[in-house]
């Protein structure tokens, strides 16, 4: 064991020593681009803390490792850009509906008006809505991915999310592309009331045409957390349902169950592993393997000997 490794083990800082070396190298060679990126981000964002073991991860190395803690493989949450970037082959991404955002249909105002809340979230997260949709090549296959982002208002599904996902499904139906939806949501957007509830039906209707009538492949990937309306609509409708390790997948949240039952919910009850044991998922795939697994799956499905109408 080298001295460096021993130091890392002792101090439990994953990648810290490497980070120091890297900084030193960078300062001496002065890569301008790298410096600017790191200086423009807040100091807080340079380090991420693993919730499971308390390990500190430097942002650059955690990104290389796809935000997976090296200690015990705990998957940290990732935003949509971090998911799309490594999965799509370079110079092949075409985004859809970039400028589609929600309207304040109910003129809703709780502690803050819905419009202001939207603008504040857009400024803070740098996303116009809670989902990014588009088409791109992944390992040579053209796919239609939609990636939800939990950072934007808790990933809640409002009219814009419903509309973007429905349009993605309709586009994939027209062009006969495999569909991949990465789900991360706290449920339906309460500020849009019953209109956001109907988005569940809208997406399911598009999926019916896509899956049942056109018989195309839809893979849903459930990440931390997937709750409420998304679990009860497109999240659980995949031909193949993949979950990430220790993802929280639920219909009713823990607090609601405890209030209904008056009992404590057992630990690990609604995690991906528990759902897997109960037969509700197809696979639990580590993040680092997802891109490869998706291309293998689409390969398997396209090599069927029996041709459909």
């Amino acid at each position: 064991m080298s001295v460096r490794k021993w130091l890392e083990d002792k101090q439990k800082f994953g990648g810290l020593i490497e980070a120091f070396f890297e900084e030193a190298v960078r300062n001496s060679i002065a890569h301008e681009n790298d410096k600017q990126i790191i200086l423009s981000e807040n100091n807080n964002d340079l380090w991420a803390r693993c919730e499971n073991c308390g390990n500190m991860l430097h942002i650059k190395f955690s990104k290389q490792n796809k935000s997976v803690c090296e200690e015990r493989g705990n998957h940290l949450s990732m935003d949509s850009m971090e998911r799309i970037e490594p999965s799509i082959d370079p110079n092949t991404w075409i985004p859809l509906d970039e400028d589609t955002i929600s309207k304040d249909v109910l003129s809703f105002c709780d502690e803050e008006s819905y419009e202001n809340r939207l603008i504040r979230s857009q400024e803070k997260t740098g996303l116009p809505e809670a989902v990014q949709t588009g088409i791109g090549y992944s390992n040579g296959t053209l796919i239609a991915p939609g990636v939800m982002d939990f950072q934007f208002m808790g990933g809640s599904m409002g009219s814009a999310v419903g509309e973007k996902i429905t349009r993605l499904i309709e586009y994939a139906t027209q062009k006969l592309l495999p569909l991949v939806l990465v789900c991360a949501s706290g449920g339906a957007r309460m500020q849009e009331g019953t209109v956001s509830l109907m988005q569940m039906a809208k997406i399911s209707s598009a999926l019916h045409y896509y899956q049942v009538q056109k018989k195309l492949l839809y893979i849903s990937i459930l990440t931390y957390p997937t709750t409420g309306g998304v679990t009860a609509s497109f999240g659980m409708l995949g031909d193949i349902i993949i979950a990430e390790s220790k993802a929280y997948i639920a219909f009713a949240g823990k607090r609601v169950i405890e209030e209904t039952l008056g009992q404590k919910v057992p630990d690990g009850f609604q995690l991906a592993e528990a759902l897997f044991e109960n037969g509700l998922l197809d696979l639990i795939v580590p993040r680092i393997l997802i891109k490869g697994v998706l291309s293998e799956i689409s390969d398997l499905y396209s090599s069927v000997p029996y041709k459909k109408n």
Binding site: D79, I88, V105, L127, R167, Y171, T194, M200
Partner: protein, 471 residues
């Protein structure tokens, strides 16, 4: 119980209290007196339950030395059998289910279907429940009754005052019920005596046959399914059933279905499509059941499957919200060609209490949440979610259930006539279009680049390729 050579009599507290056995029972173990004790108990007036519990506590193995007549043994065995029967849980404690043990000759004259229905009128008229906004009406009613009583007692004529007060009562009632606020409508939608699904069914159908089970291990009582006729035409009926009193509510789980309920509904919907029954669904649920069992058995998956499959059913579907429409639990049987709502019913994505707790951080803000979320029928018609509001009689549906059911029947038949003119493909397109247009988005406005800095920008270099256009 310890094995002793001498028996002990353990008498349960209930047995003691109800049958006054305190004098008879004792826990001393003198063997000689035990037989005397048993005969004393046998001769005293004791109920079936108590004697059986006591008989179970006797260790007959240790009673070799006692003489029990064959008659007593038989008696105890019969009592024991009866106890075992009553221990098994029957849903309504109804001796007549699944069918009456004895039919009279007159019973067999009409249709046999009513015998198969477990839903009977309640034996006792339920106590009237007054909602907070109805209190002024209650006071006027009390005054009217007081005057009527004095008139009876004294024999004097107070008809003028009575008529005056009655007129005032009617006017106030009309005014109150003409302008209910969303919070008041919510309380009417949740009224304990609001007519339930089965009450509406028995008012509007000529024939009714309930069908059960999901053929996979469960018959969820919260969702009721069956076939019936309205004006000679057969339909499939599916709906959430609330209880009419606390006991029924516990049996029906307060109309909160688990995944088994949705699978039962799906089986019935497929059955209806197969045989050509149009489907009428009735929504009246606070939400899908949030429990450990439901989560383990795939509550989300069951609802999702229902949503997807309902868009492929080649028969007309009309959904009516007759009470509360609770989020995914309601939508699980609510993807339809036409959506109707009773005037005082509500349809929400999250209950106002939950919404208040999350957004306002206090449950006291529930009235504010009710107003803000726009959950009542008239507001939803404006949002183009609901197709028609069915009028309720003055005083709410609970005041005059029969009229409410007739209004419902008229609206359903009117919409069904229009839908039956469409062929199945147009029907599916129409259903898809109905939900496709729901949603309010803003587009065409160039967004501030700061708001898109975390979006992956286009980097495809396909020659001459324009951004994808939808055809």
């Amino acid at each position: 119980m310890e094995a002793t050579c001498l028996p002990r009599i353990y008498v349960s507290a209930s047995a003691k209290a109800s049958s006054g056995l305190a004098s008879c029972a004792s826990t001393s173990n003198t063997g000689n007196s035990s037989w005397r004790r048993f005969s004393c108990l046998r001769n005293s007036r004791i109920g079936v339950m108590e004697s059986l519990q006591m008989s179970q506590n006797f260790e007959f193995n240790n009673w070799r030395h006692t003489k029990m007549s064959k008659k007593s043994v038989a008696c105890v065995q019969v009592l024991r059998a009866k106890l075992n029967d009553t221990e098994r849980k029957t849903h309504d404690d109804d001796d007549e289910y699944p069918w009456p043990q004895k039919f009279g000759t007159e019973d067999l004259e009409g249709s046999p279907l009513p015998f198969l229905s477990r839903f009977k009128p309640l034996p006792n008229k339920p106590k009237t429940v007054t909602l907070p906004f109805e209190i002024p009406l209650l006071e006027i009613e009390k005054n009217i009754n007081k005057i009527r009583e004095t008139a009876k007692a004294t024999g004097m004529d107070f008809s003028e005052q009575v008529n005056e007060l009655q007129r005032k009562y009617d006017e106030m009632r009309k005014e109150l019920y003409g302008q209910l606020s969303p919070v008041q409508r919510l309380s009417v939608a949740r009224h304990p005596h609001r007519p339930t699904f089965l009450e509406h069914i028995l008012n509007i159908t000529d024939k009714w046959l309930e069908l059960h089970g999901d053929r996979a291990g469960c018959d969820d009582p919260a969702i009721v399914t069956g076939i019936g006729t309205i004006d000679g035409m057969s339909f499939m009926f599916i709906g959430h059933q609330k209880g009419r009193n606390t006991k029924e509510n516990i049996y029906r789980n307060f109309a909160m279905p688990g995944p088994e309920g949705y699978r039962k509904a799906l089986r019935m919907m497929r059955h209806a499509e197969h045989h050509g029954f149009p489907i009428l669904t009735f929504v009246d649920t606070p939400g899908a059941y949030a429990g450990l069992h439901a989560e383990e058995h795939g509550q989300g998956e069951a609802i999702a499957k229902n949503l997807r499959e309902m868009f492929g059913l080649r028969v007309p579907i009309i959904t009516t919200v007759i009470g509360e429409g609770g989020s995914g639990g309601a939508l699980g049987i609510g993807c339809c060609d036409k959506m109707l709502m009773l005037e005082n019913s509500v349809y929400f994505v999250a209950s106002p209490e939950a919404c208040a707790a999350i957004l306002w951080r206090t449950a006291d803000a529930a009235p504010k949440a009710t107003e803000a979320m726009k959950i009542t029928a008239h507001e939803l018609v404006e949002l183009d979610v609901v197709d028609e509001v069915v009028k309720e009689p003055l005083g709410g549906a609970h005041g005059d259930p029969y009229s409410a059911s007739q209004n419902l029947k008229e609206a359903i038949m009117r919409h069904m006539k229009d839908l039956l003119k469409l062929d199945p493909d147009s029907l599916l397109k129409h259903r898809k279009a109905k939900f496709r247009k729901i949603g309010a988005v803003q587009e065409g406005v160039k967004l501030d680049p700061r708001f898109k800095r975390k979006m992956k920008p286009r980097d495809a270099h396909l020659d001459g390729e324009q951004p994808p256009q939808m055809t």
